[in-house]
């Protein structure tokens, strides 16, 4: 009997090993462990055994049954795994085929530059002031120390609508309006971005419409060294930590002293290249201390208050930064141009 059980175990394990799919395995299970299976049959013959032998045989039979059961489970798991893998293999795809495109547009390069500058100055505590593009002669010129007849305000250079109304030629009238609103009380700390217009023929370097960003700070004890420090901080954040700035004396009717501000070339680091025309410096801004006439006209006491102002052209900055060669690109809106400015 013992031999019979061992033989059954042997047979069953071989059949389990041979079973190639779940159905065959189930047949083996039914054949050996079923109610009509040979092990049950063997156990049925236990009555013929002596009482001493019975428990021993019973235990042996259970061992055999357990061994077969465990082999079945193991095989079952293996076959199931194989089945899954087969199924998954059949589901394989070509991962190199193109994905379903997500359609994305992006900022215009000028907006990209303007928002970057806005954010830099917001970080320094500035707010953004906006104003009308169609402006009164008073705010565009007179309030900025450009009285009628001043050579710097030639009719030829501006788009007038009536004698008193024109398309603003710079964003400075926003400064004048903002100061006026403050009614002689500081501090004023603003950035003014916007569209401006001049009577220029459109070509590679001129555009009758372009953008400007100006900044203004008015408070007690504002010094020119503060202007230098502010623009230095701006230049480093905008063009790189290694950038330096330098002031060159200049003239604007609304500031005194006035300077032009160069930033050390971000292309060559100041050694000289074609971007900086070999000088190592790139002219980026006009700036200066707010002219006392401008302060007084806006209602500020120029004995008590001082201020600085600066202005720059996003077109120029974008052209330098991205190597754009023709200002007309900004207003033609060729998609092959626009979509180049898509990176975060």
């Amino acid at each position: 009997m013992k031999e019979r059980l061992q033989q059954l175990q042997q047979e069953a394990l071989e059949k389990i090993a041979q079973a190639s799919d779940l159905k065959a395995l189930n047949d083996v299970r039914v054949a050996y462990l079923g109610k009509k299976g040979p092990i049950t049959e063997v156990l049925r013959g236990m009555g013929a055994l002596s009482p001493e032998e019975r428990p021993i045989m019973g235990a042996l039979a259970n061992e055999v049954r357990a061994a077969i059961q465990s082999a079945l489970e193991e095989k079952q798991a293996k076959l199931e795994q194989e089945e899954i893998e087969k199924k998954l293999a059949s589901e394989a795809i070509d991962v190199t085929l193109p994905g379903r495109p997500v359609r994305l547009g992006n900022h215009h390069p000028l907006t990209r530059v303007i928002e970057e500058i806005e954010d830099l100055f917001i970080g320094m505590g500035y707010t953004i002031a906006e104003g009308p593009e169609v402006e009164k002669d008073y705010y565009n010129f007179e309030a900025l120390n450009l009285p009628k007849g001043h050579p710097a305000r030639d009719m030829q250079d501006s788009f007038y609508i009536t004698e008193e109304i024109l398309l603003r030629t710079h964003t400075s009238p926003v400064q004048a309006r903002t100061m006026e609103k403050h009614q002689g009380r500081g501090p004023v700390k603003i950035i003014c971005p916007g569209k401006v217009y001049r009577r220029d023929n459109d070509d590679a370097t001129h555009s009758h419409q372009f953008t400007q960003i100006e900044g203004l700070v008015v408070d007690e004890n504002i010094r020119m060294s503060d202007l230098k420090g502010t623009l230095q901080a701006f230049a480093k954040k905008m063009f790189g930590e290694d950038r330096e700035i330098r002031f060159r004396p200049s003239f604007f009717p609304f500031t005194e002293p006035s300077v032009e501000v160069d930033v050390s070339c971000f292309n060559c680091g100041g050694h000289g290249c074609n971007v900086c025309k070999g000088t190592g410096w790139i002219e980026i801004l006009g700036a200066g201390m707010v002219h006392p006439n401008v302060l007084e006209m806006a209602g500020f006491d120029s004995k008590k208050y001082t201020g600085f102002a600066f202005g720059m052209g996003p077109e120029r900055i974008a052209m330098l930064k991205y190597g754009i060669d023709d200002i007309r690109h900004f207003y033609q809106n060729d998609l092959r141009f626009l979509q180049q400015f898509n990176r975060a």
């Binding site: 359609r103 994305l104 547009g105 900022h107 215009h108 000028l110 907006t111 806005e118 100055f121 917001i122 970080g123 320094m124 505590g125 500035y126 953004i128 593009e133 169609v134 009164k136 050579p151 009719m155 030829q156 788009f159 007038y160 609508i161 009536t162 109304i165 398309l167 500081g186 700390k189 569209k195 217009y197 009577r199 009758h208 419409q209 700070v217 408070d219 004890n221 504002i222 010094r223 020119m224 060294s225 503060d226 230098k228 420090g229 060159r248 004396p249 200049s250 003239f251 005194e256 002293p257 006035s258 300077v259 201390m289 006392p292 900004f330 207003y331 033609q332 809106n333 998609l335 626009l338």
Partner: protein
Amino acid sequence: MLVSYKWLQEYVDLTGITAKELAEKITKSGIEVETVEVLNKGVKGVVVGHVLEREQHPNADKLSKCLVDIGEGEPVQIICGAPNVAKGQKVAVAKVGAVLPGNFKIKKAKLRGEESHGMICSLQELGIESKLVAKEYADGIFVFPSDAPVGADALELLNLDDEVLELGLTPNRADCLSMIGVAYEVAAILGREVKLPTVELHETSENVADYISVKVEATEDNPLYTARVVKNVKIGPSPLWMQTRLMAAGIRPHNNVVDITNYILLEYGQPLHAFDYDRLGSKEILVRRAKAGEKIVTLDDVERTLTEDHLVITNGTEPVALAGVMGGANSEVQNDTTTVLIESAYFTSATIRKASKDHGLRSEASTRFEKGIDPARTKEALDRAAALMAEYAGGEIVSGVTEVNTLKQEEIVVTITLDRINGVLGTAITKEEVATILTNLKFAFTEDNGTFTITVPSRRRDISIPEDIIEEVARLYGYDNLPTTLPVAESQPGKLTPYQAKRRKVRRYLEDAGLFQAITYSLTSEEKATKFALETAEPIRLAMPMSEERSVLRQSLIPHLLEVVSYNRARQIENVAVYETGAVYLAKEAHELPEEKERLAGAVTGVWHAHLWQGEKKAVDFYVVKGILDGLFNLLGLENRIEYKQAKRDGMHPGRTADILLDGNVIGFVGQLHPSVQKENDLKETYVFELALTDLLHAEVEEIRYSTIPRFPSMTRDIALVVDKDVIAGDIQKAIVEAGGELLKEVTIFDVYQGDRLPEGKKSIAFSLRYFDPERTLTDEEVTKVHEQVIKEVEEKFAATLRS
């Protein structure tokens, strides 16, 4: 202003400073030196030659065979093609081995069988611009004065060994429109002295009053008029050194009298005019405003009609010059002139600017008057001109000056403290440093306990307030020495306004939805200005447009966005999706500023989505664009307040256009372009929208408030309604929502059918209705009751039947 480096040395010592170094110093201190031009364009080996013989070339009509002494060995034979070459002339000879501009090497040559050992040069061949060459030498070789030493370096005689600094002057620095002015600036930078020209006058015993009397009617325009008479002048060429200085300064030499007036203009910045005294036709000068319609023929032989805005110099009756701008042809100095009336006057800038603009005449003289001259130099310049005419035109100076002077020159005195200077600049400059700077500027000043009282010289008309002095100190102290600090005031947080923040989000949303941001021009044509406009007003036209295409301010962004689509399509970009945010301009009363309203517009065409290998391709249609806008309204929290209404608009497809309403007011529209408009613009099916961004962003929206996430299951019931074809889905949906009441939380359209399986003129719309109550689980009966009520109402209202 072109400044000859060699000439400048006459007024200020430049020892130890090259032209280039000087240029750098000037630039650093405030006047940009735009270029430093080396006049020698690579010329080598050109000397003065003496033409000993000249005869006709035996084989060529237009060539001369010359024998020229070049100061070394035997005279050489040179073939010359210039028509003006003649025996006895002193000429510029490029010897064999010489180099001319453009690295042109002179070799021994044979011209039509005759040997030529060099070349006789014109000034152009030596690198001088044609427009600077005196007329008599314009078409031929240059002839030196007869005393030019044979064999001498021609370049030196022609001052071509000089360098010229081109100053880019800002309007405030008109003082540097003269050599003396530049000398003061350079002296201030270098801390050196200024040497002014000395004027020695030898006058005749005659009195100028016997020659001329001057009357000024227009004293506002002409506060100072001075004149001298120089008689017995001989018109001829001016000395070579003067001619070469004029050329270096960009002025073409003419004759001695005219050259001297130009020379003084450059030296003193005082424009002069020389009249032929005998051609004046009277013994008086009357300065007055022109009469309307009065005419004058100016030196350029153009007859000009004058207005009362223009100032004229007259002989008492007839105009003889357009004051400060150009002389009259009737009184021009000519070769036979013997008596010259020199005018040195101060005309105010406004009147000159007007005349120069009206007549399109910009001259060296008018430019200086426009920018403002120093009247303190007017008389000295006159004297110096007379002295030079005596010296170089053989003239005799009639005694005295005729002068009309109504000038009210007030001395400008500026007071400033050292503390203020340092306070504005953020520096720690000392009293002594400020004093040195003022001394170098040659400003008269006193200093008392840190307070400077400065008398500003009349040449520096740009300085009148303390800040101007601060600037002088700052630029000469050096901006590189300025410390860098940050404002010390208490800092406030910087922040976008809610409007600005929302506008940024709107842009970002549209870009993430697939649209590119365009920026187009605000100026357009009259025709395009009002097209597609949400609201229109009287077009705002520029007074002086540069072109019709850019003459009127836009009232809609769509026309230019359509140009963008056309532009791209013309470049084989078929799928275009662009948007723009920007102002439109709506006129109010003529004296008022127009209203500027910000708009958001877009144009979309072509394939919207394509994933071809998976068989997906979707062309842009109305619902693509509407979907984008729905997302936008969601973003702004306005989705429940927006309504689309079928609409008819100019330029738009009558069946595929909707007005968009916010709280019942039209704030925009969306739709397909009218096919005829598409055709006109060479476009395929194109959809556009324009929204009143200002209104959208200003619409008040409730703050976000959390609402409980439903814990109880919802129940969904679907219905398909068969209705007449022209019943609008939105109306049914609205009716369902109303009928559904509290429990109905969501209505979705999931199918629209029209076709064979329905009777003619009918369509079916299928809705999915979701019911729930956040507080409890709904029973089937409750929902059924409400749902049946919904069905009943829509059946009645739209004559709908349930589709089985």
